[in-house]
Symmetry: C2
Subunit: 384 residues, 2 copies
DNA sequence: CGAATAATGATGTGGCTCATCGAAAATTTG
DNA sequence: CAAATTTTCGATGAGCCACATCATTATTCG
C-alpha cells in the first residue's frame, strides 16, 4: 500500500512555498497582496515565504514601475532562469535541439541536417554537436541543464531503447540516454516522436483545451500518439499507439499512394513529391485526387480503430502532409463518420516540424516539476 | 491554472488524520505505537489524532487481547461500518445488487432474474425491489449508503444514459441515476458493464498486479474495458473500448460462430449452447473446434487493435465463455502473436458473473475515497 | 519485585493568522 | 509650489494550533 507519510509542521511551509510558486509561474509579476489573495494565505505569511524564495533563488524581485495610486508594491516573478531544459528531436533528416527556461520559453534552437542512412555513430555525433552548439550559443554549461528529453522514431522501451522497431539503420541497439549521461548528470528521458508531438499539440498547439487527444502523424511515415486524461500514455512496454503494425491497418503502405502517385515528374526530389500531389489535387487533377482518396481511406482505418478504442475529444492531424490538412480533414471526417460511433473533432496541427522537439521540452519540464513537487523545494544555488 | 490553495495550520491535522486512516484501512487492528511507526508521526501526536478519529466515529477501539509482555496496548481499527456502498449490475437476464462496507467487504447480495425483453419500467422496478431486499436484509436505511454505482450495457454518456447504443429495449432514454436519486441522496454513478468488470479484475480478480489492463468480455456479447495507469478510462464521450463497432472487427457476429454451431441439438436453451459447443470441442468434435477457431479469429482482430493501441500488461478474458478459457487462451495468444508487436499476458477471469457488480462496488468506494481525500474528514455522525 | 511496554502530562518550537503601526508615493488642496 | 491627505505597502507583535521531545505514571508478566 502507499506509504502513509505523516507530516511535520515544516511540511506546511513546503506546501505553501509550492503553492506560491505555482501561483507565480506563467503569470506576470505579482505583488505580495495579489499572491496572498490568490493562495488564500495571509499577507504576512505570504511575505515571509516569498522572502525565503527570493534568497533561495526561486523568485526574483521586479522593482516597481509606478503606475497606480498609493505606495507602489514590489513585484515578484518566478525565476525561470534558475534552470533550463533541452528538447532534442533525432529525426531521419534533421537533428533539432531546443533550449528552454523553466517557464518553457525557448531561448535557443539549433537545427542540423543528417542523412536517413547515416550510421548511429554519425547521428550521435550530430546530436552532440547540435547540443554543444545550442549550449554555447546560450552561454550555458551542461550542469545548468535540469532535464533532457530525446525524441526518436519507433516505440521506446523501459530502458530508453527502440529495440522493437526503428527505421534508422543500426539505431535499435543505441541508448541515447546512456550516451548523453556522459555529459549530463540530470535525468535524460527518451520518448517516441509521435508521443512527443502529441504532447506538444496539447501544450502549445491545436489541442490546448482537450484532455483526450489522438495525434496522427500523417507524412512519409504514419504513426500516432495518445493523451488520455491530460497525460501521455506510453503503454506497459512503451508501444501504445502502434496500431499501424496491424496488417489490416495499412499505415505502412498508405503514404505510397502519394509518394508513387501516377504522373509525378521524373527526377523530382522525394521530399517534394507530396507537395506536388497536393498541388495537383487542389487543381482538380484526377490521379492526384484518387491518390489522396486512397491515402485517406487507409489512414482512416487505423484512425477509426484508435478513435473507437479511446473515444478522444480531438484528433490532431500532424506530420508533413498536415500542411495540406484542408484537403485531408473533410474526407477523413467522412470516413470516420462511416466507421465510428462518435466522431471527435479533427484539427490540423499548427506546430509543424518543431512539434517533436517542443514536446520533448514539455516532457523535460514535467520531469523537473515532478521532482520539485515531490521532493519539496531545495535551494537552486546548489545547482547554479 | 490549478487553484493554488495555501494551507492553514489546521490542514496539518487533516493531512495526518488522513494518513492515519490510510495506514489503518485494510490492515489488522493496530496499536498507537505501530501507527506512529507506520506514519512517521510521534507517539503522542498519533495518540491525539486517533482519539479524535474515535470520537468522530471513523475508528473503533478493539480491547486488548493480552498476549505480550508489558502493558497491553489498545488496538484500533478502521470503522468500516461507518458507511456503506451499493454496486448494482443491471443485466439482460439478472439484476445483482451487492452491499459492502467501506473496506469493500460484501455484507449482502441479492440476485433477481429479469427477461432480456422486459420494458424499462419492469426492469427499473426489479432494480428497486432488489435494492430494497438487499437493504432490508442488512437492516440498513438508504441514508446509510454513501455511494451507488450502476452497471449497464452500452457506452454511458456524461449524463449517465446509454443513448448511443444498448441491447435492452427502450433503455436508451432511461436515466438510472435520476431514477435512484429519488431514494438516495448520495452520489449515484452509472457505468458501462465491461468497464466495471475490468475494474473488478484489477481489484479482486486476475490482474491485481497490473496497472495497464485490457478486459475482454467474451460471451454472447463481446466488449472491452480499459484500465491504464491503474485508472479506468472512459473516453471523452464514455465510449472508450467500443472497438467492436468497427465493421472490420466482427465482434457483433463473432458469438454466432458458437451460438449457431452446426450439430447443436434442436431445442437446446440458448444459455446452454456455448457450454455444449465447448464440451464437444474438448472431446475433439470437428465442427465445434472449427466454430471455436472462427470465434477466436474474430475476437483476436479486435483484441489486437486494442493491444496495439494501448500496449497493456495484461489482457483478462472474461464473460460467459471464459469458463472455458483454457480452450480460448492458447489460440488467442497465437493469433495475437501473428498480429501484434508485443503480446501481453493473457489471463482468464476468476470472478465470473459477479464481476460487474463487484466493479460497481469498487467504483462507488473510489467515489467515497475521492470525496474523503479531497474535502478532508468530516465527522460521520452527520451521515449516520 | 523488577523488566517491559503503554498511556499521560509538561514544555518547547515552528508556522500561520490577525491586528496594528510606520513608511512611501500619488493626489488633493491652500 | 508646498503641505496635507489618501492609499497602499511593509514590518512587528500577540495569540493559536499542531507537532516533537522528554519525563512520569500505569499496567502487566516473569
Amino acid at each position: 500500500m502507499a506509504e502513509a507519510a505523516g507530516a511535520d509542521v515544516s511540511k506546511l511551509r513546503e506546501l505553501n512555498s509550492l503553492s506560491i510558486v505555482r501561483a507565480l509561474r506563467g503569470q506576470p509579476p505579482a505583488t505580495v497582496t495579489e499572491l496572498a489573495a490568490r493562495t488564500g494565505l495571509s499577507r504576512p505569511g505570504t511575505d515571509v515565504v516569498i522572502r525565503q524564495l527570493v534568497t533561495d533563488g526561486w523568485v526574483q524581485v521586479v522593482e516597481p514601475d509606478g503606475s497606480s495610486v498609493g505606495r507602489p508594491a514590489r513585484r515578484y516573478r518566478f525565476n525561470a532562469g534558475a534552470g533550463h531544459v533541452l528538447g532534442v528531436d533525432v529525426g531521419g533528416h534533421k537533428i533539432l535541439v531546443l533550449l528552454a527556461d523553466l517557464e518553457g520559453r525557448v531561448l535557443h534552437s539549433h537545427r542540423r541536417p543528417v542523412e536517413p542512412d547515416d550510421d548511429p555513430a554519425t547521428r550521435l555525433a550530430a546530436v552532440d554537436a547540435a547540443i554543444t552548439e545550442c549550449l554555447s550559443a546560450a552561454g550555458m554549461r551542461p550542469d545548468q541543464i535540469w532535464a533532457v528529453t530525446v525524441g526518436v522514431t519507433g516505440p521506446v522501451d523501459a530502458t530508453g531503447r527502440t529495440t522493437l522497431f526503428t527505421p534508422l539503420p543500426g539505431w535499435a541497439s543505441v541508448s541515447p540516454a546512456d550516451h548523453l549521461s556522459a555529459r549530463f548528470s540530470c535525468p535524460i528521458l527518451v520518448e517516441n516522436d509521435c508521443k512527443l508531438a502529441a504532447v506538444a499539440e496539447r501544450w502549445k498547439g491545436a489541442a490546448q483545451d482537450a484532455d483526450d487527444i489522438v495525434y496522427l502523424l500523417a507524412g512519409m511515415r504514419t504513426g500516432a500518439g495518445l493523451i488520455l486524461d491530460g497525460t501521455l500514455r506510453r503503454g506497459y512496454g512503451g508501444a501504445a499507439g502502434e496500431i499501424g503494425a496491424l496488417k489490416a491497418v495499412r499505415w505502412l503502405s498508405a503514404p505510397s499512394h502519394i509518394e508513387n502517385c501516377p504522373g509525378l515528374p521524373a527526377g523530382i526530389h522525394p521530399n517534394d513529391k507530396a507537395a506536388w500531389v497536393f498541388e495537383r489535387a487542389r487543381e482538380g487533377d484526377r490521379d492526384a485526387r484518387a491518390a489522396l482518396r486512397r491515402y485517406v481511406k487507409d489512414l482512416a482505418v487505423g484512425a477509426a480503430a484508435l478513435v473507437l478504442t479511446l473515444d478522444p475529444q480531438v484528433v490532431v492531424l500532424g506530420g508533413g502532409y498536415s500542411r495540406s490538412a484542408d484537403l485531408l480533414i473533410d474526407p477523413l471526417k467522412r470516413e470516420l463518420h462511416r466507421l465510428c460511433l462518435r466522431v471527435p473533432e479533427i484539427r490540423a496541427s499548427i506546430l509543424g516540424a518543431d512539434s517533436v522537439a517542443l514536446g520533448a521540452l514539455r516532457v523535460a519540464l514535467d520531469q523537473v516539476d515532478a521532482e520539485l513537487f515531490s521532493d519539496g523545494m531545495p535551494a537552486p544555488l546548489t545547482k547554479a
